[in-house]
Amino acid sequence: MTTPAETTILVVDDRAPKRYLLKNWLTRAGFAVAEAEDGHDALDKLRQRPFDMVVLDVKLPDMSGLDVCRHIKADPATTSTPVIHVSAHAVDAADRTLGLVGGADAYLVEPIDPHELVATVQAVLRYYQARRRAEQLAEGLSRLAQTTLAVTMARDFTELLGQAAAGAARLFGTAAAVATQTTDAGWALALATEAGKVTVGGWEPPGDDVPIGSHRITGLAAQWQLPADWPDPVTVTTARFRPDRPPLYLFTCAPHEEVHTQLLTQLTQALGAAAEAQRAQDQDHRIAVTLQRSLLPRHLPTVPGIDLAVRYEPASPQAEIGGDFYELSALGDQLLIAIGDVVGHSLHAATVMAEIRHALRAYAVEGHCPGRIVTLIDELMVRLLPGEMATLCLLLLDPRTGRARLANAGHLPPLLVADGRVSEIWHRAPLLGINHPRSDDLEFVIPEGGTLLLYTDGLIERRDITIRDGIADLSRLAGDVDADLGRYCDRLLRQLTNPPHADDVAVVAVRRL
């Protein structure tokens, strides 16, 4: 309970001797007292600063004490200020009832006993303090829940830490900071000012070992590499769940109330759990991406007379990995070129991609033509991978003559850039996995200096434009082939896509020198 010395009471009475008496009694009981002469004076003073209580005469010269009380209770700023009525003249039960109905918390009738006055003031304050604590706790828990939800919904560590610091600043009404180890082994600290402005940057953890569980210590801001203007002392609350997991640090300005320490612990544990979940999710994604990359070609072949470049842009960590793939192999005097996309986004799609890629290499080594290879893969999928579907564009190129044989299976048309013109190489045949009849292979020539560009839908697909328009956009940009093919691919990716990618993007460029 608050000590009486911190408690200021406004005494309202038009008679100076009576005010003197009330002030005297209350001061001796340890309360600070301010005085007002009438109703308007009282309401003015209440507007200027908060009071912990008003002792209010019922009969004032300018307005009724009952009306003053109603004003106090109607104003949101003073509605939880307790009011004790004192009445000079003899009143009956009906008058007292009117006072209490009007919002007063107690009603004393003269002659007033000083002990009864002080005891009544203390009883009313006790009730109000309990109520205020409960209100603060309820508000704190509501903000805690909001912050927990915000950090759980965060898509990456920057957002998570920013939401955590901003939530802590809102919760405690002071500047706050949150630090932990992010997935890429670095440590990050998010700072939120009292006004809620958030900055996120790198941070070095202290060498000390953080114990398992939730702990709270007090220190100096400089020891924790907090900004120079951070007010000392700083309260550091840590959460760590296992010895092999990094801790999470929450920095706040020292709390004064018991409510805050409960909330601090709960908030730190919630933030620690959210950080663990984020790390686990990022880790899963990294494993999946590493595995998927390991299923793609490790090296590009060296083919005389041919320049090659490949780009593979991964989907954002928030998206599942895709099933895009490509293949470039020298087979005798032929170059095998393929690009494809397995339907679906998951590690499973990546494994299907690997099976298709290995099958197409095996069938190509046997010496089949592109259309036959595609048909064999299609049959294999219907038998061994039922329900899976994929698009594939496959061609065999003779680097010496530029003669190419192409078989498409539902994939986007490659672009041929030759003599300053861009043409779409359409060859319509159904996608893989449904075993539908196919048209014959398409034969064409890549002239000397000509470039063939193959790509997956991530490069051209946007929901706000049609596929035709997407291909047209690509054609416009692809006509001007950079001397460096790698730079050519980079430029197309930069001009056509907007990281972070919702989907993987693969681009293969083949130029005849």
Partner: protein
């Protein structure tokens, strides 16, 4: 476009007519609502086994390869139950993507 936090809006409506079952789809279809589309189509096919199924695509604004896979699988399921399955009124980007993967004729012929 953030597919994870903004699943596409899609709806369906099924009418069981004396001579066929008509499913009207509307909205966008991709990996995020693949499961929903599968159950809508399979439920409709099984509601009138053997009856021709017609899927009105007029109000479908977008479909990706996952959605196309569901349509192809629904076609196979209808065939298994002795019925037919055809798409009607596919236009714009939806028709375009069905043509690129070369299943437009197959899915609209009702064979």
């Amino acid at each position: 476009m953030d597919r994870a936090s903004n699943p596409p809006q899609a709806t369906h409506d099924v009418e069981i007519l004396p001579d066929r079952v008509r499913i009207t789809l509307a909205g966008e279809f991709d990996l995020a609502n693949e499961q929903a589309l599968t159950s809508w189509l399979v439920d409709a096919i099984q509601a009138g086994p053997g009856r021709p199924v017609e899927v009105d695509m007029h109000d479908v604004g977008f479909i990706d390869s996952s959605g196309i896979r569901v349509l192809l699988q629904a076609h196979a399921e209808a065939a298994r139950l002795g019925g037919s399955f055809r798409l009607a009124r596919a236009s714009g980007t939806v028709r375009e993507v069905l043509e690129i993967v070369a299943v437009y004729d197959f899915l609209t012929s009702g064979d």
